[in-house]
């Protein structure tokens, strides 16, 4: 007898005795076969719907990476090689209607931003035709390829507090913003905004989307209004604030230097207010894949008339050095975002697969039916099974 003998009789509860009521599903043709057909019936039409949505998106993408070297000088336009173009205009059956009108041209300009350096920059003029009116909202994106924004040392290189507006001291930045925390010269001033991401911001400017020719061929000069407001996620905007640094404490990142006198912030050329710089906010939201689009500007109200358009891009962001490309993208969106035929096709494929599987199993089941709960299938009822005590 055990020494401690209080009554240890277990309680007779469903839980302790493991008698909880339960659903014990089993897979039988009765339950399985309908599921295949149901999934098929739901997925295939859904896929069609998704595909339709994707196809309703208008998208024009012009890779202008080689605009500085291969385009003709302004005001002469030459055709952009077709490999640099991808375009879908759902309303238009033949791409020839607009492909032949996509042209580029280049010129050297001294721009506002680079005013403190003597060198000018290339300005790219892209010309394209919008074959039919595009309903708002309308979005302008820039697209970069082969840019690994998710590299470990890159993606971690920023300081959230500094972006928020706090005057973070230099020694705290050294760990988070390394190696772009303080300036390389003797002053060792704090770089604001520090870090690799901020430094490498996409600094081409896309401007003056202008209707030069109406759809009927008449001349026009109508600039379509695009704003770089409302292009960052509202939630992202909370992360940024005007800085508490005084301009003499800080210097701009090395790649920003050209935009400031002697590469420093002054009272006249103060550091940017990051809380309103949505382009900066968009850039700071690092992309997951090396081929990505980022929103540059948008128009939520006005439709884009059909006609010939011209857009100028100041060419500053170097991409060829790392084997990348950059592109100008004009796009509308569907309820699924950008043009994306994947989901539609995938749904259709799975729907069809399910129906096929269902059909196969139904055939097999009809050909060779089995009864539910037949004892004769148990192994002891088979001669080759082991014999039991009986």
């Amino acid at each position: 007898m055990a020494p401690e003998t209080k009554s240890r009789e277990p309680a007779n509860t469903a839980f302790k005795q493991q008698r909880l009521k339960a659903w014990q599903p089993i897979l039988t043709p009765k339950t399985v076969l309908p599921t295949f057909f149901i999934v098929g019936v739901i997925f295939a039409p859904l896929g069609g719907l998704l595909l339709w949505a994707s196809n309703s998106v208008t998208e024009l993408s012009i890779d202008y990476t080689y605009c500085d070297s291969r385009a003709s000088n302004f005001p002469n336009y030459t055709n952009v090689p077709s490999e640099f173009i991808s375009a879908t205009f759902p309303q238009v059956s033949s791409p020839q209607q607009y492909m032949s009108d996509i042209k580029w041209s280049r010129e050297v300009v001294a721009t506002e931003e680079f005013k403190y350096t003597n060198s000018g920059v290339w300005r790219c003029h892209l010309q394209f035709r919008v074959p039919s009116e595009l309903k708002p909202p309308l979005f302008i994106y820039y697209r970069l390829t082969n840019f690994y924004q998710n590299h470990r040392s890159y993606v971690k290189s920023f300081n959230a507090n500094q972006l928020k507006g706090l005057a973070v001291p230099a020694d705290q930045l050294k760990t988070s913003c390394n190696p772009m925390a303080v300036s390389n010269d003797n002053s060792s001033k704090i770089i604001y905004p520090c870090g690799l991401i901020a430094n490498s911001i996409f600094n081409d400017t896309i401007s003056n989307l202008t209707l030069t020719q109406n759809a009927d061929g008449s001349k026009a000069n109508d600039t379509y209004v695009l704003v770089s407001k409302g292009i960052s996620w509202p939630s992202d905007r909370q992360k940024y604030g005007p800085t508490s640094y005084t301009p003499d404490q800080i210097v701009p990142p090395p790649d920003w230097a050209n935009a400031y006198p002697n590469g420093t912030y002054t009272a006249d050329s103060p550091p940017p207010d990051l809380s309103t710089d949505e382009l900066f906010q968009v850039w700071m939201r690092t992309a997951g894949l090396p081929d990505f689009r980022k929103l540059y500007s948008r128009n939520d109200t006005t439709a884009l008339q059909a006609g010939l358009y011209d857009v100028s891009i100041d060419y500053r962001f170097p991409v060829t050095r790392y084997g990348g490309t950059k592109a100008f993208v004009l796009s509308t969106v569907s309820f699924l975002g950008g043009k994306n035929s994947f989901l539609g096709l995938a749904y259709i494929a799975v729907g069809i697969a399910c129906v096929v599987l269902g059909a196969i199993f139904t055939a097999r089941h009809l050909y060779k039916p089995r009864k539910l709960g037949d004892h004769t299938y148990l192994s002891w009822n088979n001669p080759q099974g082991h014999t039991n005590g009986n």
Partner: protein, 1367 residues
Amino acid sequence: MTSPTSNFTLPPAQEAVSERSVTSSENERQVFANIPIPDDKGQAKGKYVSNKIITSKYNIWTFLPKNLFEQFRRAANMYFLIMAVLGMIPAVSTNSPILTLLPLSTVVFLTACKDAVEDLNRHQIDDKYNSATCYLLQNFENVNYPNQTKLSIWKRILLKIKLFFKRKKSKPREDSNFNNDDNIPCKPSNEINGDPEFKKVMWKDVRVGDFLYLKNGDAVPADAIILSTSEQNGNCFVETKDLDGETNLKTRRSVPVDSIKKIKTPKECSQAMFWIDSEAPNSNLFNYNAKLTVVSDFTEVNPSQEQDFNSTHSGRGQNPRKSKNSIPIDINNLLLRAHVIRNTEWVIAMTVFTGVDTKIILNSGETPSKRSRIEKEMNQEVILNFIILIILALICAIGTGVSSYLLTNSKGKYIEERVAPNQGSIGLSSFLTFLSGLIIFQNIIPISLYISIEFVKGFQAFFIYNDLDMWDEDAEIPCVPKSWNLSDDLGQIEYIFSDKTGTLTRNIMEFRQCSIGGKVYGRNGWAGKTDASIGKEMAQGGDNLNDNVNKDEIWNQYLQELKNTFDPKYSSTDPDFLTFVDPDIYRDLNPDKSIEEGTDGEFNIDDNLDKQKRASLIREFFTLLAVCHTVVVDKSDRFTNESDSEKSISDKGKTSVNDVYSDQTIENNLHQSDEEKSSSKNSSLDHTLKKVKHSITNIKSSFKGLESMASLVNSTSSKGKKSISIDKTLVYNLDYKAESPDEAALVSAAKNIGFSFLDRTLESMTIDIFGQEYVFDILNVLAFNSSRKRMSIIVRRPETLGGGIVLFCKGADNIIFERLASGQEILIQKTSSDIDNFSSDGLRTLTVAYRVLDKSFYDSWANKYQEASTAINERSSKIDACAEEIEKDLILLGATAIEDKLQEGVPECIERLRGAGIKIWVLTGDKLETAINIGFAAQLLTKDMRLWIVKGSKKETVEKQLDNVYASLITGDILPQDETEPIRPDDTHAFIVDGSALAHLLDDEKARLKILELSDHFHSVICCRVSPLQKALVVELVRRGKKSTTLAIGDGANDVSMIQAANVGVGISGQEGVQAAMASDYNIAQFRYLKKLLLVHGHWDYMRIAEMILNFFYKNVIWLTNNDFIYSYFRYSANIFYDYSFVQLYNMIFTVAPVVVLGTTDQSVSASYCLKYPSIYSLGIKRMRYSKKLFAIYFLDGIWQSLVVYFTFYFIYSMSVNVIASQGFDAGSIEFSTSVALTVIVTANLFVCFNTYYWNWIVWAIIVSEIVIIFSYVLIYGAFTESPIVGIGQQLIGEGTFWFGMAFAISLAFLPRYVITFVKQWWYPDDLDIVRQIRKSDKIAKEKISRKEKLKNQKIISPTEVEMIQS
């Protein structure tokens, strides 16, 4: 302090030593008594191990380092430690190192706590044994130890401090033999502070060469050679059940040297001069070889010299006399540790083996730490995962190398500056990436897996503990899981090794029927049906279990007849205690009084037998039962009373020896008080009795336990019900102790009829027949042995009973029938058909016969027998031949039928276990015949089975027998001398092997392999007469040889080694001893609970653990695989894909609950179906639910699902080039990874549910809450600006792309699994699938019926509708 002088010479001893040294091996030992060890040749003094036994692993100082060492020896802990250390290197870490250390330190801390509690338990048990006390000769020099114990200084100080704290309460008291005035056990030393006396010492201080003084009921502290006992002939009785599990008393003898036999006083002990040459310590319980050499006839020392002798200590100045002779000592002279002295007032013995050298300890083996099979296999998978981890990290490292090479060499410096500056050398950065990769992917071996398994197994243990079906109402014991981590092994048991006595059987023999003179008595349904006959009826499908027996009527008649015949004094008249009640006995005994109508014609086939003759036959029959046996009457009461009176003198609060008695006193008092109470209220009696019993057990356990005490408690309880409730009708209680319980049953039966065996001496027996005492002189006892299969006793009958010399003989039926006098054919025929009936009811039969011997014939025979028994050569065969001469021309009396009560439900349980594909081996210390009998009763053996018996003690014959079996069964050759019947393929076979034969087979490599190969052919295996170590060896053989999961079940200390050797050890608690229960992994109260434990809990737990571990691996694969793909998009920079909080919480919160619930509450089918269709258990035996194959399937499934989820979102993001929002916003990497993470988490949770068979409300609640938790986590965590996923939740939830992507990914991810599972379950089902389908169709049928009844009740239904429903 005197020491022996150096000029003391001792030629004989030296001679002996030098003689011996030729043959002595290193471990043989010489133990000297009062003879100085020769310095030049002798062994070093005091080299023997102490008697202290330590099973604990740690002490307070060593706990921390040792436990940590133990813990970090586990690969998993070491791994996590390395990872944590890696995480602290800033260059590689991705997160806070403290967070990485936290889970590990929690695990280590919890494990340490658990270990500490366990070890504390062991300490207490050790302490219980080590500080038990016994009486030891003191003030005498134990020459085997140096005079001054070499103590280091600090130890001495410690000792002094200890002594200081021990309060001294000395009350001098006179006692002839021993001095028990000191409560404090003293420490034995060689110091002499007065006359030698027996003093109380603790067990741990007993040394080799010490004289032990053991009283009745004492447990023996160390292996010791009996020098003398209180009995004239130097015999003593011991209880050996802690060693071999047998509860009967065994006789041990003192060393057959007269001078030593006479030792009685401490003084005589200190004067005895002899030495013992003992064999080396070994584990053999049935063999011992030593010799004792007496130096001189020291008892002749005259009193004046005695003084001198004493003071000079060991006889300086005496002329040592020539040594006389060396007397061989065998196992019969040896008391073993854990023996308990019984029926003997005192024993003086000399210890030869102490501590770990004792046979019981050598037999117990190491306490192994057991791990379940799945856990072991899981470790391989863990290693595999570790390799995968290394590979993944290597891929990252190589990728880093390649990409940085490309960066520095091809595309100029721009990107290097802008995107990835300061990479250092390629080699270094690759290496750092490798380390970071290790950290990122470390979750592939999830630390939470180990915690979850512990948790789940804890719950499984909880369920096992709480199972009402395994709750023993009488003993109030639940099934106690002692090792939590073996519950899954319970579901994979292929071999069960069972002890017999006390495990399969209750070890209660019941006299059920007898056939006297061709008439069967006792077949009146009084005691109900036997287990075997019930089993037989069940097999035949009969269900008329209602036997209309009017028990009261039988009883009243019986009692009346009994009272008419005599006034019962020793006989029981309590119907609850009688298994044999037949009034016909008395009617036939008293033919004058008996009325003709009492005996009906049905039985009266022997009308020619006249009534008087029958009466004398019955009389002779029961006289024989009362006389022809080797039973002794337990006189412990006698000693109890003595010590009782002693106790009343001695002071109270004394522990040890006296407490043992005090316990019994309490119990006796209880019995008395019970008797008083019984007159008043019978109904409440049992209840109060139980209560008082409990309080007694509590009192007992609160005492510092003694082995003797424990066994005493158990001995009272082992008598089963009879001791629990006291037979109040007995005037005098006679407690019979027999070598076999059968004998005790026969003697008790005779007693209850009125032929009471009262006492025996060597020469005579006292029998009370119907109230009159008769003394039978014992002339010869022709003992039982397995070749004779009979036992005879020749007695001189008292004149009042007719006088003359009578031979009583009982034995196996065929043996007796061969030796009967001619002219009894009708009787033989009738008796033998009765015997057949008995046997088929599963009863054990014995045939009894007698012969009245002619005086002159006997005298001449007696001379011959005397000659034979003193013969030097071939004594035993000569004795046998002699016996053959007199055991003939017997007159048949009849036959007895005894039931060895099986435990309740044993045959049914065995049948179920068999149905589950479990092979059952019975390993018993019993004799071959007994074992076979039980085998039949327990349905281990059936009549159509072929029994293959291997026995004998010679190696050659044994091997030949095995070869025969092997040849017949495996190679198919039938040896010419073998049985003629050819082997048919559908024959079933049973293998029965004797212990001595087994010893040879286990020694031989080839034989072992043959046994293993044969074991597949045997449905049952019975090993008899096996020692504890052999039991362990057999278990080990099968476990290793077959690579099977084994379970050993037993109840005695003799089963401990077997229990430890098996994968799972089950102890039957509450019957014998506590050792088995202590060593076991599960304690159950009855064998039949094994059915529920294995077939239900084992099956469930196996399925649960298997499924849980597989799902655990799966969910880490699905979580991590996509990480590796993303790395190409991170330029292999070992960036972390998911937000770190997901990584942290994935295993801890987001996915843990469904897996744990699966592991805790899942049921393949409900318990009743598990029991109804035991064949589903074989899934576990065949390891169909956890295997490398399944691991691979789950692993690949994980990869597939991971890829589906990943690439779904990859294509969504890449094909839309990062714009998935309807508002036109571009997406960040966090959105991408969060969509993947959410989908993976939902998929993983759903997948676990998909693998759940049993969707109780907990599963529903958990799955719903997990999904709610993950989404609300994303929303809540994303509400903080500081969070890295700020706003992500709202964005994703608001985007159609995310939902469409998620739905698609989940559907596609599940598709293969769904299809394969369906095809497998429907078209290629295993037994479990079918049973689940059966359950389903049963349920559908039930619903149909209830619906139909409902409709009928509503009475709005037309007959056609009923038909429609039916169809």
